[in-house]
């Protein structure tokens, strides 16, 4: 799951296929993801991974890094 998300962020959101994203890299504060890519990421998780993400779960704590997203999806029982 983590690798799949890392690939999606690098290739589809950043348009840099060979970009390596560390699991603790800050996706939000660094300017890596803007608000549009953030919305695309949620859409991707909901549509392609078939995981419902309620609005109140889209928080900095849950989406700050790949590790945080992973932990969140774990808690969602995925």
């Amino acid at each position: 799951m983590r690798e799949q998300l890392a690939r999606y962020i690098a290739a589809d959101l950043l348009n840099q296929h060979d970009r390596v994203i560390d699991e603790d890299e800050d996706l939000l504060a660094s300017g890596l993801l803007d608000s549009l890519s953030m919305m695309s990421l949620i859409h991707h998780i909901e549509q392609d991974l078939q995981i419902d993400v309620p609005a109140e779960d889209v928080t900095i704590e849950n989406f700050q890094s790949l590790r945080a997203i992973d932990a969140y999806l774990d808690r969602r029982g995925v």
């Binding site: 504060a29 300017g31 549009l36 953030m38 919305m39 309620p54 609005a55 109140e56 889209v58």
Partner: protein
């Protein structure tokens, strides 16, 4: 007397030194502390040779350092120039060269990004905020700033001196710098503070980044009122539910943002879980707010009043409309409204002659909130300034906004599009010509057409179509990477199509309308659902 922007914080510090001026991520600066830090920074910049009229860059994310930087730079007598740290280094370097920046204020987390900029070979003499930026560049840490003596000096400025230069997309392929004086900036800060009745107990949200003109109202109107500016961290601007939580915990009273950000707050902010009763004003500007989302947001924040703020960066804000309750079934566009006090509007044809009542024409404005001009570009100035004798032989200057408007029967102005090819892509102003120049700079590209395509959330994104030279090849991804080297991210086409030949109109021009229509059909928009 208050005639320079820093006078506003000086006055607030005199009246209520302990009141919070700036808050950011749980830390804050009182007005007294803000003035002191800005004075020390000004002293250091003066010691480094900064003088009246110089341009000093700010290379910083949102936060306390940026707030101190803008006041410190102005107190040194210089104009501040925000450098968007997320823009390509080549674009930042263009701006540094274009307006002759020799001094930059930054902060430690930006060091590696700053080094990429310095590696572009710009002529920067000193950097404040990190102590070892690069060989041959003098560096000073923020500790050095706070240890620098406050030197009494009079920068000898008048209100017509420059306060800041904001760079925006330019149609010839390079950005252009909109240069504002203390007078024009203060004129807008005053009219906003008066119109919306800002008070010392207000807490204004600073949502827009520093290189975006919306940020000036948050800082300067707030300082005039002696109120608190709460800087929204970058991460919160990307995550609506966290932004909503911040509005609640910080008890914000005034929100000012682009409609897209407010739409995301509405759709993804989980607002029903929050107590947002502290909010008394929601101001929005930069692009049209889809009526159905505005109506829903008004219902979600019943205690707040809502106002449109209209005006290109060149004139700050010039018209507004305090939105009355909206009919449940009427999705007619929100008008841009009526002029603020002390603003004259003129709806005119190409010759400057006023059009007949109710006819669409270009909006010209005469206002104290007008820029001095585009930095180093008298050719552009002569195109946008329209000179006219209003009284006697005295020449008055109007700004040609490039926006087409119409006056409704009730007197309110409504927006009817652009005269040129400028669009607002997700709140940011982009010249489509600049996108096409960037695409055309790739050696494989023969011709390029860029156009705006409506999004589900009522904003626009950019798509483009290119044809290639005989025998040359480039993938859409490689081409997007190429333009991402010179354009800010919001201007990079989201989708690129390579076609054998462009559709043409009957007169042989590239039919961008047909391309945009094709793109619209592909992506169903909220308008159609």
């Amino acid at each position: 007397m208050l005639y320079l922007l820093p006078h506003a914080i000086d006055r607030a510090a005199m009246r209520s030194p302990e009141r919070e001026a700036i808050r950011y991520a749980g830390t804050s600066l009182s007005y007294a502390a803000l003035v002191e830090r800005a004075d020390r920074l000004a002293g250091l910049l003066r010691a480094e040779g900064v003088r009246r009229g110089d341009r000093v860059g700010i290379h910083a994310g949102k936060g306390i350092a940026a707030a101190v930087a803008l006041y410190g730079i102005m107190k040194a007598g210089a104009a501040y120039v925000p450098l968007d740290p997320s823009a390509p280094p080549a674009r930042q370097a263009f701006i540094v060269r274009d307006c002759g920046i020799r001094h930059v204020v930054t902060e430690p987390p930006r060091l590696s990004a700053l080094r990429l900029l310095l590696a572009e070979g710009v002529d920067v003499a000193s950097v404040v905020g990190v102590d070892a930026p690069a060989p041959n560049v003098r560096g000073f840490s923020w500790t050095d700033v706070d240890a620098h003596p406050v030197v009494a000096h009079d920068p000898d400025l008048v209100e017509m001196d420059l306060a800041y230069v904001l760079y925006t997309s330019g149609s010839t392929g390079t950005p252009k710098g909109v240069a504002h004086s203390h007078r024009s900036a203060l004129a807008f800060a005053r009219v906003a503070a008066d119109t919306y009745g800002f008070r010392p107990d207000d807490r204004l949200s600073n949502h827009a980044p520093l290189h975006f003109d919306l940020s000036t109202m948050d800082y300067f109107s707030s300082a005039l009122a002696g109120a608190t500016t709460v800087i929204i961290p970058d991460a919160h601007t990307r995550v609506p539910a966290s932004y909503a939580a911040l509005i609640e915990t910080e008890r914000l009273t005034v929100l000012y943002a682009v409609p897209l950000a407010l739409t995301h707050l509405l759709l993804h902010g989980a607002l029903d879980k929050r107590d947002l009763s502290s909010v008394r004003w929601v101001l929005f500007g930069g692009e049209p707010f889809p009526t159905r989302y505005l109506r829903a947001l008004m219902a979600a924040l019943p205690g707040a009043r809502f106002s449109n703020v209209y005006g290109p960066t060149e004139v700050n804000g010039v018209t507004y409309w305090v939105v009355p309750p909206l009919a449940p079934d009427d999705d007619a566009p929100i008008p841009i409204g009526q002029p603020y006090q002390n603003v004259e509007v003129r709806i005119a044809g190409d010759d400057g002659a006023v059009v007949a009542d109710g006819e669409p024409g270009e909006l010209l404005v005469r206002t104290p909130t007008m820029m001095r001009g585009y930095w180093g570009r008298p050719d552009l100035d002569s195109r946008v300034f329209w000179k006219h004798q209003v009284v006697g032989h005295f020449e008055d200057v109007y700004l040609r906004t490039g926006d087409l408007v119409r006056r409704r029967e009730d007197g309110l102005l409504e927006f009817h599009g652009r005269k040129d090819r400028q669009i607002k892509a997700r709140g940011y102003r982009v010249e489509l010509d600049e996108v096409e120049v960037a695409l055309g700079s790739h050696p494989a590209v023969e011709s390029a057409a860029a156009y705006g395509v409506p999004d589900e959330d009522g904003s626009l994104h950019i798509e483009a179509t290119v044809t290639l030279r005989d025998g040359r090849h480039v993938t859409p991804d490689a081409l997007r990477t190429h333009v991402a080297g010179s354009l800010p991210r919001y201007a990079v086409p989201v989708r690129l199509d390579v076609v054998p030949a462009m559709p043409r109109t009957s007169t042989g021009k590239v039919d961008r309308r047909a391309l945009a229509a094709r793109a619209r059909e592909r992506a169903p928009t909220a308008e159609g659902t």
